[in-house]
Amino acid sequence: MRQRDDWHLTDVLEYEHGRGDPFAAAVRATRMPMVITDPAQPDNPIVFCNVAFQRLTGYDREEIIGRNCRFLQGPDTDPAKIAEIREAVRDGHAVDVDLLNYRKDGTTFWNALYLSPVRDADGVVRFFFASQFDVTERVEAQNIINDQKLLVEREVERRTADLRAALEAKTLLLHEVDHRVKNNLTMIGSLLRLQVRTIDDPSIAAKLDSMLERVDALAVVHRQLYQSSDIARFDIGSFAENLISDVVGSSGRGDIDLDIKAQPLFVDAANASALGLILNEILTNAVKHAFADGRSGSLSLLVEGEEDHGIIKICDDGPGMPSSQRSRSIGTSLITRLARQANAEATWRDAKPGTCVTITFPKTEMRS
């Protein structure tokens, strides 16, 4: 028998004389609760119910036959689901809903209802066939899961809100501290500059100028750090390039040729100040000593990154400095000790003519 001829099965199932029919016998005996309704009669009453249906609902056969299915509904039955069924009956199509139904004793159960029309040869709906299934356990388990999920979600939401508020407070505090650091650094620089202008003794003024340059170098490091999107890393390559241009540019020495071969090179932000100060010492020393007394020349900067370390090389073509004199200056001792702090190494080489200083330091991991 072909699938589209299925309805003949129920055609044979005449409710008045179905007793001898093997299909009717099967429907009567199955564990699946089933009813058949007759839409031709007023209010579409139940004309057949099997034993399983009686067992499920607690009603006897006599109490069931002749009534519309809605007698199983109660105050907590979802009206939207009822409307869905009503619509399916009206339009003559199948419907599949989970419905809260009431037994004779008033207890409830979740009914997985499947309702489908049975048509005759002319396509007229002759019966509705409805199978039920008690899915109380499944629905209740699902409800428990949903309730728990809701609880967990609410808890997560609450804690996330707490964390977000804490983070906002911290961020605000950090910005405030950062702002104060910026303002104080700016003021320290301004105070020193204003003081330098009042000093007549050139050697003291020069010392104060060196001090000012160091404060300025720290200010530039800080500025570059707070303007960067990544606060853990510091681009010492760009810093060196900007510093050499700034130092030579502001010295008013148009007679110093710059040869810059730089690239971005990232170091751990913790070492930014130390490396920034080292570069400042080397560059300002070169401008002051290699090109003293208006001597012109060239200054080169090379920034290179190897696998795990970076190299910054600064060379001048000045007269060079005797190593004995170099070791006495505060600049040299600053460089040596700050280098140790930053795990870096600074070496001087007599380039004949001039001096080359090479700083080798560890790079930070490139993060993806």
Binding site: T186, G189, L194, R197, V220, R223
Partner: protein, 146 residues
């Protein structure tokens, strides 16, 4: 040789104002007036014609650098306006019509080089020297000087 610029300094922190003025004068330019607030700027005579204005964002009497910027643009449309601030992130993408920003904390070299660059461009645009990293140019400056 660049000529002398007349510069307006709008800064409510007196120490910084003194310092910036000293750097302007050391660079061979003239400080036309100083102001600590929008109200101070509004009180300035209209026939003032500064070539350059350094403007802090946070000013006295609850006024802001943005208000000063729009006042300057109305009264002295040719003035180059450079914000000097620690709050660079508060500046909108169009700089509210200003021409650039110098971030605090600034260095002596950074400010002096910026003044040199701006003076070069103000009298003989576009500037013949490269823009120092301490000065971030706005879209307006880029269109003005190509």
């Amino acid at each position: 040789m660049t000529r002398t610029m007349d510069v307006l300094v709008v800064e409510d922190e007196m120490l910084l104002a003194m310092d910036i003025e000293a750097m302007i004068e050391d660079s061979g330019h003239r400080v036309l007036a100083e102001a600590a607030s929008l109200q101070d700027v509004q009180a300035l005579p209209d026939d003032l014609n500064p070539q350059l204005a350094f403007v802090d964002l946070h000013l006295a009497h609850n006024s802001t650098g943005f208000e000063v910027c729009s006042y300057i643009r109305q009264h002295w449309p040719d003035t180059l306006i450079i914000f000097v601030t620690a709050n660079v992130s508060k500046i909108p993408a169009d700089f509210s019509g200003a021409h650039g920003v110098i971030a605090k904390p600034f260095s002596h070299a950074g400010v002096v080089n910026a003044i040199k660059y701006l003076a070069d461009g103000a009298f003989d645009p576009p500037p013949s020297i490269p823009r120092p990293a301490s000065l971030v140019a706005s879209p307006h400056l880029k269109t003005r000087w190509g």
